[in-house]
């Protein structure tokens, strides 16, 4: 009745050395090479101006790359205009047609492809059910809420059963609660359809929750491509680490076979080469927990943030400030000004270079 019509061979994407510049100035994309597997939920993550949206637009055909090539499903996309690509986009502003109601918006793509009216109606109905807007079909788009608009934009793209669906920050205009809800829904929908999704966002938590793999972009270049866990736990460089929300960076002075000398003292363990040590807040242990790991030192609590499930402590260790996050399991907390014992090991840390 509904789902079967949408099941379709998803398509892989290959981006090879794509460069794109606007007017004069720095390139928006600088020799970007990327592979997206068929059926993957792939996220382009980065700050504004990093080139993620430009890359998405190159995939959609809305921008022509200056050099390099793009293949979708093994077919070169050179010179293929957007309306001849089996790729659809959910735009950041949703771009719903103001002169058409919900049903007419969803049916637009099929109408342009010359699909018979009865089939348009059937497929629109099915996709509307799937995206949870089955009862809104005759509404004016001006009457819809933000979340509903987002669903209409999604349905309007999905109904065409594209090989690849592109999503340009589709959740950024929504409030936090709705956003979390739609993240889950979108993820489930993608798995159910088995379609390749390329998702653009600047929100690293959103990227981690939703993606199979994440590409972090910085100034037009790919900084790292990995699974959410890989990007978070083993960031390729300081930029990626900062962007993923890390703040505990300890400069490394010297490294030898048994450990490293750092700004907070000697740490024993097996550390890779690099200029900085990254300590994840949840891997910094306090008090009795600290005694289970080899490297311990004293620090003063300068700030305490209670977050329900966890408590965050800002710790002064000499010149260095560290953020520690402790699960609240009923143990007594620490007050500001208290001195606590801190422990770190080579697990939960990573070494980085600029």
């Amino acid at each position: 009745m509904s789902g079967h019509a949408l099941a379709r061979t998803a398509s892989s994407i290959r981006v090879e050395a794509v460069t794109k510049s606007f007017e004069r100035g720095v390139p928006a994309l600088d020799a970007v090479t990327l592979d997206v597997e068929a059926g993957e939920f792939f996220t382009l993550l980065g700050p504004s101006g990093c080139g993620k949206t430009t890359l998405l637009r190159v995939l959609a055909g809305l921008e022509e790359p200056d050099t390099g090539r793009v293949e979708i499903g093994g077919r070169s996309m050179a010179g293929v205009p957007p309306h001849r690509r089996s790729v659809n986009t959910v735009f950041q502003s949703y771009a719903l047609f103001p002169h058409r109601n919900v049903r007419q918006n969803i049916g637009f793509g099929l109408e342009m492809q010359g699909v018979p009216g009865a089939e348009i109606a059937e497929r629109s109905q099915a996709i509307a059910g799937l995206t949870g807007i089955g009862t809104l079909l005759e509404r004016d788009v001006a009457q819809l809420s933000g979340g509903q608009r987002q669903r209409v934009a999604l349905a309007r793209a999905l109904v065409n059963e594209p090989d690849v669906l592109l999503l340009d920050e589709p959740l950024s205009a929504l409030d936090a609660g709705l956003r979390a809800h739609l993240q889950l829904e979108l993820k489930r929908l993608q798995r159910r359809l088995g379609m390749t999704f390329v998702f653009v966002t600047h929100d690293q938590e959103e990227a981690m929750v939703m993606s199979d793999r994440i590409a972090v972009l910085n100034a037009g270049r790919i900084a790292q491509v990995d699974t959410p866990q890989g990007v978070y736990e083993a960031p390729a460089d300081l930029f990626v680490a900062r962007f993923m929300g890390h703040e505990n960076f300890v400069p490394i002075r010297q490294r030898d076979a048994t450990g490293v000398d750092t700004a907070i003292g000697r740490l024993d363990g097996d550390f890779a080469a690099g200029s900085h040590l990254l300590l994840r807040p949840e891997a910094i242990r306090l008090d009795s927990d600290a005694r289970q790991v080899p490297n311990r030192f004293m620090a003063r609590v300068s700030e305490r943030l209670y977050r329900g499930g966890t408590t965050e402590y800002r710790l002064d260790c000499g010149d260095i400030q560290l953020m520690a996050s402790c699960a609240n399991r009923g143990q007594p907390g620490h007050e500001v000004g208290e001195t606590v014992e801190v422990g770190v090991s080579d697990r939960g840390t990573a070494t980085l270079s600029d």
Binding site: H83, V87, H99, R100, A118
Partner: protein
Amino acid sequence: MSAGRLENGLRAFWIVLLVFLYAPLAVVVFFSFNSINSSARFAGFSLQWYEQLFRNEAIVAALTNTVVLAMVSTIIAVIIGGLLGYGFYRYRLGRLSWLVWLIYLPVIMPDIVFGIAEMTFFVAINERLGILSPGLGTMVIAHVTFQVPFVALLVNARLLSLDPQLFEACHDLYAGPWQRARFFLLPVLRPAILSSFLLALTLSIDDFVISFFTAGPQSTTLPIYIWSAIKKGVTPEVNAIATLMIGSVFLVAFFSLLVQHGPSGGRPSKGGRRA
């Protein structure tokens, strides 16, 4: 308390303003039915001036000229101006970008300067090339010239108010160039095209000066006829012609109300095929 007084004061002001706005028109209509030749004393109801009017061939010809001038110039201006407004929005003009400023020329140019510029130009061309002799043709050209910028500005403003991603969404959803024009651009611009049609029409109807300077002996319009008649003093016949023109303007106003409140926004059209 004082808010209520302000409210009452404003309402009274509004009524006085309406009287100010409509009294001159009402007086014209009223005295067009006067049985004597006076605009100070109403002696009785009569249609004699209207009878005279329709027996006067010059007036009937002027009426025809007025309608032809307004309709022809407006249609041409909406097409040319609409394309111009779209072109300015859609394409990078590069070295031609100064053209955009030309649009503002008729806006800052007083009617009278515009009128004499057109007139002297037509005369000069006519002397040398024998074309563009003064008449309906030159009047249409002059009217289109001052209508085009207003149409272009309205259409352009509507396009600028649209989400630019709409154009890309169209492209992304398999619409080719002609489909984009037919299924997106025209429906989305419909309100702007309609209002620019009405604006161009009223600009043409309102104009006297430019028509006056570009008209030829055979292309007298009603305002020009009235002008020369008043120079001999206001007669009830003039009031009768004016009443006809006021009536037609109210008709246009009525249509514009329909355009605003009628099926414009997001009405379901035949695109909404149901299985």
